[in-house]
């Protein structure tokens, strides 16, 4: 009997595996993003000078590039999970569960609405 050996780079041979790996990496990156925001609070607590210095550091081209990359991974993570929600836990209003595409669309609409509400509050709408 010849044992099975998985080849290195297996996840590069199937686009769905590649997307899966991006989703998993996106989960790790989302956690990093959260830590960054928490650290931002620490700097804010230290005073105006410390916070401004941190914001200036985040505005450098290198930091902006890294942040854009992190944001892209967070987006992949969010969108791929939105695609999976309808499959992971079928949502039923009638006998038949909602189609995964419909659940995805509902999530996108809710996401836009919530983001809009947050932006409205943050930029002094209330």
């Amino acid at each position: 009997m010849y044992p099975w050996k998985r080849r290195a780079g297996w996840w590069l041979r199937n686009p769905r595996f590649l997307l899966f790996q991006a989703r998993e990496a996106g989960g790790f990156v989302s956690a990093l993003f959260g830590l960054l925001l928490l650290y931002m609070l620490v700097r804010y607590h230290e005073g105006v000078a410390s916070y401004d210095a941190f914001l200036a550091m985040l505005s450098t081209p290198v930091a902006l590039t890294v942040l854009a990359l992190l944001f892209a991974f967070v987006m992949v993570h969010a969108l791929t999970w939105f695609l999976l929600i309808g499959k992971a836990q079928p949502i039923r209003f009638t006998k038949k569960p909602l189609r995964a595409g419909t659940v995805f669309a509902i999530n996108i609409v809710l996401w836009v609405l919530v983001s809009g509400a947050v932006l409205f509050v943050v930029f002094g709408g209330l």
């Binding site: 099975w4 899966f20 499959k87 992971a88 836990q89």
Partner: protein, 249 residues
């Protein structure tokens, strides 16, 4: 009439003479109505009788003829040669399993896992025959119908990268069949199955890649079944933690 030809690149492994698997090419004639299994049968009947592979029904029912065709786990009896991209049909044994010979892989591990999840209607006590059959309403059948379509072809295991990384993982088909019986209104074995499925090597190893459902020739959706099992296992665990013993079923 065969007016075209195609190259079959078939993975060979004969344990009595090969140290490791290698490819062997066969150029054969084909017609548009031929499936990959027909091509393999042509090779065995006319070119190389030593080629070894499994098959039986030729109509996508028995689940015997699974193989990796140009990198994707599929039933050879359901894959038309004309559908395969390129001029070469590359046939490998199903990934993630040890090879016994050529395209024949070892399923013993799956059969052991299948046995563990009790793939049958499990009742604490059978009612007397005089009381008649167990009647089910259409919606009760619908609750498990999709998972009952599984033909144990193992394509889902061949596609699953989690099983490829950890052979201890109970895997898609065994989980889907466990879910099928848990959802059956006649069954009373949910607790015993969830005990098996909730272990370290059970459903929690699944990271929801979803490829098992993509390759399933019967649209069983094992990935969806596993996520539903996770919910059932979580509810059961919370009940055990929070509710008094007499309220549990």
């Amino acid at each position: 009439m065969a007016d075209k030809d195609v190259v079959f690149r078939v993975k060979r492994y004969r344990p009595e003479r090969d140290v490791e698997p290698h490819y062997q090419d066969y150029r054969i004639p084909y017609t548009d109505d031929m499936v990959v299994l027909d091509g393999l049968n042509y090779i065995k009947d006319n070119v190389d009788p030593t080629l070894t592979y499994r098959w039986s029904c030729r109509m996508g029912i028995c689940g015997s003829c699974g193989a990796s065709i140009n990198g994707t786990p599929r039933l050879t009896c359901e894959t038309f040669i004309k559908e395969v991209r390129g001029r070469t049909v590359v046939v490998d044994p199903m990934p993630n399993f040890p090879i016994l010979k050529d395209l024949v892989v070892d399923f013993d591990d799956f059969l052991r896992k299948l046995h563990e999840v009790r793939p049958f209607i499990d009742r604490k006590e059978e009612k007397p025959l005089a009381e008649g059959e167990y009647i089910q309403f259409p919606e009760e059948i619908e609750a498990y119908r999709q998972q009952s379509m599984c033909i144990n072809c193992m394509l889902c295991y061949a596609a699953c990268p989690v099983f490829g990384a950890s052979e201890h993982f109970i895997g898609p088909a065994a989980s889907a069949l466990a879910y099928r019986y848990i959802r059956d209104s006649r069954d009373e074995g949910a607790d015993a199955r969830l005990d098996v499925l909730s272990t370290k090597t059970g459903i929690w190893e699944c990271t929801f890649v979803g490829e098992c459902s993509v390759v399933c020739p019967k649209d069983v959706d094992p990935a969806g079944a596993i996520q539903n099992l996770k919910v059932l296992a979580s509810i059961r665990q919370m009940r055990q933690l929070l509710m008094p013993k007499w309220t549990r079923r």
